[in-house]
């Protein structure tokens, strides 16, 4: 379970069951709030390549993502709070991806689905593919695979729900939409003469931290 005030205020599971047997329902605001949040994540209708086909399959009868409360894929970023980046993000498409993310209302989440979305995948050494969308926007769950199976997307979805459930509502670990100071809009890269400008957003992509590189070099001798 999370840390800080949220965890301290959580009801002990044993006590909860014991009280439940006596007909007393006990919970916390944070539990209720997160329960509501995690079970109403609506994805945006947004696919870029082959992974999108797997994403579509995930919502169809056989895998049925609707079981998790992620019902209809929303056709507008204003009605969605989960962006599943499924497929190859080219450098030509990247500004539009960031723009769509900016247009989504808080709280919002990102699942990067497939090798291309997380790292550029087989096109990594090409000239026109972005080497991972996490260079521009924060990604909550990465799914490896090329393309990942629908089960992998469902697992990522459950991982995201677990992450939401564990978030305390106060303290430094609180979600971004409850933090007035937090950055909600992310700079859209400009398509420059040779590459996207800037090539990365250092605020969300601090790797590699320079100090770590220094020690790495020393360790390697």
């Amino acid at each position: 379970m999370g840390s800080g005030i949220g965890a301290a205020m959580a009801v002990k599971p044993d006590l909860k069951i014991e009280l439940g047997k006596q007909g007393v329902f006990v919970t916390t605001i944070s539990d209720l709030y997160n329960w509501g949040r995690k079970n109403s994540v609506w994805p945006m209708q947004f696919g870029l390549a082959c992974c999108a086909i797997e994403m579509i399959a995930t919502t169809m009868a056989r895998y049925d993502l609707a079981r998790f409360g992620a019902e209809v894929f929303r056709p507008s970023p204003r009605q969605a709070d989960l962006m599943i980046i499924s497929g190859t993000v080219t450098k030509k498409m990247a500004p539009q991806v960031v723009r769509l993310y900016n247009q989504m209302a808080e709280p919002k989440y990102v699942i990067a689905m497939g090798a291309c979305a997380i790292s550029g995948g087989p096109f990594k050494q090409g000239y026109n593919v972005l080497k991972g969308i996490d260079r521009y926007i924060p990604v909550d769950v990465h799914i490896p695979g090329c393309p990942p199976r629908p089960e992998a997307l469902i697992h990522a979805f459950m991982t995201l729900q677990a992450k939401i459930d564990e978030q305390p509502l106060t303290g430094s670990e609180r979600p971004r939409h409850l933090d007035a100071e937090a950055q909600g809009e992310f700079p859209i890269p400009v398509q420059g003469a040779h590459d996207l400008e800037p090539p990365v957003n250092r605020l969300v992509w601090p790797l590699p931290a320079p100090a770590v590189i220094g020690t790495d070099a020393e360790n390697c001798g």
Binding site: T90, K91, K92, A193, V200, P208, P210, I213, A217
Partner: protein, 217 residues
């Protein structure tokens, strides 16, 4: 199916002014191609499409080739006076052959069908150089299927097709200035994070690390 030489003869008899030559392919496939002159390219293309025997009505593929400047070392026998005696001495002379860009088209005949007319007829066109004289006539008015492919050649190789109905970049954005499929293209250095670097990427990642270490010191 006519061989490249037979097609060359047909073109020459129909269009006496056209400059066409056969570019031989020495590999076992022997897929020889026809190099056509940009000035008469459109007339030749129309002839190839309209000729009842050839009926090359389908262009399945158009692509570009970049031939950079190359240094050629040639051995030449020169008469020279060495220590008072006239001798024939072998000397190597180096000179730079200017590079050029090339557009390649693969033609088929739908009318004749794949059984009667197998294999592509390959057309080539060359630009004067790789820098400023890179114009070639577009063959889109003859074969509509090459519209996107000529845009791709324009985007990735930088050949400008005159007479193309909509010559814009297709894969890269409009503000982009380079031509990524040229042999001298240097792609941006964005390999700063590599979980499992290897080969060329390992080299680049290490250069990146060294640069980052320099900055921190």
């Amino acid at each position: 199916m006519k061989s490249a030489k037979e097609i060359l003869m047909a073109i020459q008899s129909a269009l006496p002014g056209a400059q066409v030559e056969v570019v031989l392919n020495p590999s076992p496939s022997g897929q020889h191609s026809l190099r056509i002159d940009p000035a008469s390219a459109l007339a030749v293309a129309v002839f190839l499409r309209e000729d009842s025997e050839l009926a090359l009505d389908y262009c399945s593929n158009a692509t570009g080739v970049d031939w950079p400047d190359k240094e050629v070392a040639e051995k030449v026998k020169v008469a020279k006076v060495v220590e008072g005696v006239e001798q024939v001495v072998e000397e190597t002379i180096k000179h730079v052959e200017p590079g050029y860009l090339e557009a390649v088209y693969h033609l088929f005949s739908m009318k004749k069908g794949p059984v009667n007319e197998p294999g592509p007829v390959v057309l080539r066109m060359r630009t004067v150089n790789r820098t400023d004289q890179v114009k070639l006539p577009s063959l889109t008015p003859v074969w509509r299927s090459v519209e996107f492919q000529e845009r791709e050649i324009f985007d990735l190789f930088g050949i400008v097709f005159t007479g193309h109905p909509d010559l814009r970049r297709i894969l890269m954005w409009d503000e982009f200035e380079d031509h990524p499929m040229r042999r001298d293209y240097v792609d941006p250095d964005d390999y700063e994070y590599e979980p499992t670097p290897h080969d060329e990427v390992l080299k680049r990642a290490e250069e990146q690390k060294a640069k980052a270490a320099e900055v921190t010191q």
